[in-house]
Amino acid sequence: MNGAISDGLIVTWRNLKRIPRIPELAIFAILQSVMFVLLFAFVFGGAIPLPDGGSYREYLMPGIFAQTIVFAAATTAIGMCDDIHKGLLDRFRSLPMSRSAVLIGRTVADVVYNAGILVVLMISGYVVGWRINTGLPELLAGVGLLLLFAVAMAAIGVWLGLAVPSVEVAQQVSFTVLFPITFLSNVFVPPQSLPEWLQPVAEWNPVSTLTAATRELWGNPNPYVGTGLPAEQPALVTVIWVIVILAIFLPAGVRRYRNLSR
């Protein structure tokens, strides 16, 4: 266990070193999110009325944060896949190091990276008019929930990166899966505007519960459909989602890692 942590930290260090050395990655990740902010705030925003009124931009930003965290799974998957193809994973697997260190290092580094991007996004959100209408404890609780979810998404990304045959496939699969997940939610539009049969999907979607939870914590508009558990306890449902995802994808990822190219 000790070894897993110290080896994991070394791999984390290695993954974080990459960020300043390829600044384009972080810059474009941020630009992509900022572009979504601008598109929805200025282009679609006017056409999307909120059921109970309220500022669309305040409504939008928590959704953008959640979307950014979800899409980060693609970065994780691509990074993992790249390490396989560069032969680096073979080197790690031939070393007398902890079997989980590579997965820990990838996950921790990606969560730290996401935290950084989140800070930049919050500042740009502030600029377009997003506000936290509660206090510092709620701010921290919301960020904590986002980062907790980032851990779950990284676990999915690690598994995916180990499961697909190439970086290109990792990219394709990520976006094919992640786009509908973020759009079939309350991120951009109030779920009431969806067809009725889709509403439960959007309601239980972890991206929705994560977004609703942060909106609630920060006092941003949160017109939520229904009276079920996800509507009443979005934070709790999000945490349950995180536990379920980790319980499935962490062991699956470790198994993949051990059995690579077997």
Binding site: I10, R14, D90, S94, S261
Partner: protein, 324 residues
């Protein structure tokens, strides 16, 4: 003592339609402090064998030990004794050489200070001092390969696996790599080396195992293998086809075996003993008989000849199911 043993290693790669036996019952024994060369074409199973011995791959049958430890059940102990350098330079492009070495040292469980010290040593040894603090992205292929080998040595392993260490290198880098490898062997490292280059196996290995279609089809020292295809030969290219018969009669008399003729190139070949003196004799006899020749040579068998006579194909041709 045997540093590496393998008995009946089998590895099968299955895809939806086909089944490739990458290893089909491989037995190996490498004594401590010696160099074993696995020689074979692409897809022969060399890399698969190395990956099993380096604990990256599980055999489907058979078992193997490295340094006395079982590669499947005691993989962790095996990993603490080995260094692996593959045909793809497995180093982090976004780190510098120094950072790469430090990281691999830490993951080899060296303390941080020891890891830095060892990294500095290896940078000198592999002539990477000047580039040490540049990211690996900026390195040439030869530099990356040297760093990859240095990375494998960070923990002073007693056993080293080198999978095609010079594939893709230019001739000068290859000679440099050979020098480095020879130095390592002098220091007492046990080495298992794979190569498609017959010259390389000849140059570096004490014992050569020729691998084809997942099996070892011959083994021995380079000299033993060469003697399997016979000793020296004299080759004569006759200028005028009408004089071939006369030349053949002379070769039959001077040589020590049956002559053969390649009609297309007008080349006569005959086994010969006596080396250069015999060559001079043949030249003189041909001259006295007035046979005009285009070319004459005394040829020692190369490992290429060995390969051809053992497998029926040269080392350049890929085996049909070149999968792994």
């Amino acid at each position: 003592m045997a540093a590496i043993t393998a008995e009946g290693l089998v590895k099968i790669y299955r895809t939806r339609k086909t089944e490739v036996r990458a290893l089909d019952g491989v037995d190996l024994q490498v004594d401590e402090g010696t160099v074993m060369g696995l020689l074979g074409p692409n897809g022969a199973g060399k890399t698969t064998a190395v990956r099993i011995l380096a604990t990256l791959l599980r055999p489907d049958a058979g078992h193997a030990t490295v340094g006395g430890f079982d590669v499947v059940r005691e993989a962790h102990q095996v990993r603490s004794m080995i260094g692996l350098s593959g045909q793809y330079a497995a180093v982090d492009e976004n780190l510098t050489a120094r950072e790469n070495l430090w990281m691999f040292g830490r993951l080899y469980q060296l303390p941080s200070a020891e890891s830095s010290r060892r990294a500095a040593e290896l940078l000198v040894q592999f002539d990477l001092v000047e580039a040490a603090d540049r990211t690996v992205k900026t390195y040439s292929g030869g530099m990356r390969r040297r760093l990859d080998l240095a990375s494998a040595l960070i923990g002073r392993p007693r056993l080293l696996f080198l999978d095609e260490p010079t594939t893709g290198l230019d001739p000068r880098s290859r000679l440099g790599m050979w020098d480095v490898i020879r130095r390592l062997v002098r220091d007492g490292v046990t080495l298992l080396l794979t190569t498609q280059y017959l010259e390389e196996a000849d140059e570096l290995a004490d014992i050569i195992a020729v691998v084809d279609h997942g099996r070892i089809i011959a083994r021995g020292t380079a000299d033993q293998l060469k003697s399997q295809v016979g000793g020296e030969r004299i080759e004569v290219v006759v200028h005028d086809p009408s004089e071939i018969q006369r030349a053949a009669e002379i070769l039959a008399r001077d040589g020590s075996g049956q002559w053969t003729l390649d009609e297309h190139t007008r080349k006569l070949t005959v086994p010969a003993t006596g080396g250069a003196a015999k060559l001079i004799e043949v030249v003189r006899d041909l001259g006295e008989a007035g046979v005009e020749i285009d070319d004459i040579a005394l040829r020692r068998p190369t490992l290429d000849d060995v390969f051809l006579s053992l497998t029926g194909h040269t080392s350049e041709t890929e085996t049909p199911e070149a999968a792994a």
